[in-house]
Symmetry: C2
Subunit: 319 residues, 2 copies
């Protein structure tokens, strides 16, 4: 890889599992300390009295090599004494928080109560796990993503996903809190200084959507002279993981790489498509978005590294 393709610093906009797998590849091809991950907090919620930040934790645990690889979230080998005991005491226990995971969230809660911001606490956990990549919460303000369902029911995203099993009856997604939120400490500076901005292959509606819903982040992206490259999380008309199809349909976005391109139109310079979607490239190029076709199914870290290299090369070619 040429020196040109390694231009840093690099900023990535991140959800949970897909983003974390991409980041794991990215930090294998550039200096991890030169990468800043801006992470969705729309999934944050109080469970069992503690502040849980699902995406921040997934990114931290994955970069630390400590994530439960089979599930994509939680800590490898964690136990579930707390959640089982609380369930037996009558608490809703559908959110399966492991014991060590619980301890981290308890720590977060205690530190927030002491007045430390979420950015500071996230950094403490990052250090505790020996991760050198900067991990920034998109915001320290409440940003709950609300999923609207047929019949007018409104549920928190984690209730939709983890409690209800992501039913196919979405009528909309309410990002009102994110729209009113201020970016977290360091977020705007990181976007301003970035040499490349990568939008990870995360759910566009509920993972990247909340980050982009913040007006100051949108403005920063538009003003930035760094190329913005997204990786499509939709492959062959379906999400690699998770309920992106139901959520995209629910808000009227086509479930395809073309739908992803339309959703990001005006904010991105290029989109990486999976090989299965090569036939959509011309149409997306016609929108003024550069494309590149790659294997985007990150079954192992080598594929993730190749994908990261491709994204950086593409960004470099656009500068």
């Amino acid at each position: 890889m040429s020196a040109q393709t390694l231009s840093t610093p690099i900023v990535s906009l991140c959800g949970g599992v897909g983003a974390a797998r991409f980041l794991r590849g990215l930090v294998g091809v550039v200096e991890p300390g030169e990468v800043t991950a801006i992470v969705n907090t729309g999934d944050d919620r109080i469970f069992y009295g503690v502040h849980v930040s699902p995406d921040l934790d997934i990114v931290t645990y994955t970069l630390a090599g400590r994530v439960d690889a089979r599930k994509g979230y939680g800590l490898e080998g964690d136990s579930y004494e707390m959640v089982d005991a609380l369930g037996a005491l009558g608490h809703e226990s559908w959110f399966r928080l492991g014991d060590r995971d619980f301890a981290n969230s308890q720590h977060r809660t205690l530190r927030l109560r002491e007045g430390a911001g979420l950015g500071r606490v996230t950094d403490e956990l990052r250090q505790r796990y020996g991760v050198s990549t900067r991990i920034l919460p998109m915001s320290e303000d409440p940003c709950a993503t609300i999923v609207e369902l047929e019949g007018g029911r409104r549920v928190h995203f984690e209730e939709y996903l983890a409690r209800d099993g992501a039913p196919d009856e979405v009528t909309g997604v309410d990002l009102g809190e994110a729209r009113r939120a201020r970016p977290g400490p360091g977020v705007l500076d990181a976007l301003r200084d970035a040499q490349a901005i990568l939008i990870c292959p995360s759910n566009p509606i509920v993972s990247i959507g909340p980050i982009l819903a913040m007006p100051e982040v949108r403005d920063a992206l538009k003003r930035s002279r760094a190329p913005v490259v997204a990786i499509s999380p939709i492959v062959g008309g379906a999400p690699v993981k998770g309920p992106a199809d139901r959520l995209m349909r629910g808000v009227g976005v086509e479930v395809s790489a073309r739908g992803v391109a339309e959703f990001y139109r005006g904010l991105i310079d290029a989109l990486i498509l999976d090989e299965r979607d090569a036939d959509l490239a011309a149409e997306i190029e016609a929108m003024g978005i550069r494309t590149q076709v790659r294997d985007t199914i990150m079954g192992d870290v080598a594929v993730a590294q190749q994908l990261a290299k491709a994204a950086l090369s593409l960004a470099a070619s656009l500068r």
Copy 2:
């Protein structure tokens, strides 16, 4: 045992380990549902953001047959993931709360935050553990027991005991909060209706002391027509367990069954002494306190049952 000796209801004033062992014997010789345990909350403290009630939990776990018998507190077979993880994150982790124990305290905290009183929450945990003996917190008000040390240092009782290892430099014990506390729900009714009141072999200063520090409890004891029988926790001039010797000395009470009798004088009708202290009986009788000499070292539940029977017989003989 004659029917007379089984008069109920029975109220016991309780600290932690010694009281719980005695209660385990008591509920073997009378109907467990006819016993009400009024339990010290002077040791309660927030650890790791959760409300821990050491003595309430010891009594509940012991009566449920679930206590860690070797330690006398905590749950048998519990794990310590949470406290170890919090310790690694920089929290003081000297209070070794097991994971299932932690879950119970988290439950208590959440329920208190919802507005349930400590009495209600204690009852929920009692039911959860299948215990039929009523367990009442002495108070729902803050009652922190403060130990005063040489040099003017003041520490919470659990800091003195669990963190500092109970040093021998006690100059006093501050029960100011307990003195201003109102008895918890059901406490005065139980004392009024009791046919016998038993003061368990607990630390007189920091376990029974806080209960007796509440003016309304003192009054109820004095007004009660039920005989009040105490069991001495001091055997042969030393406590069976714990730092009662240092605390008694610190507040100027002789470390002996005679010291215990003097401490309870005016409130008790009778005191059960250990066989090793038989020589003190005459002197204690001279204070107007009936005595009985027994084996009080509750190495197994049979000894505890014999001791409970003796206390009930003594109470019955005083009615």
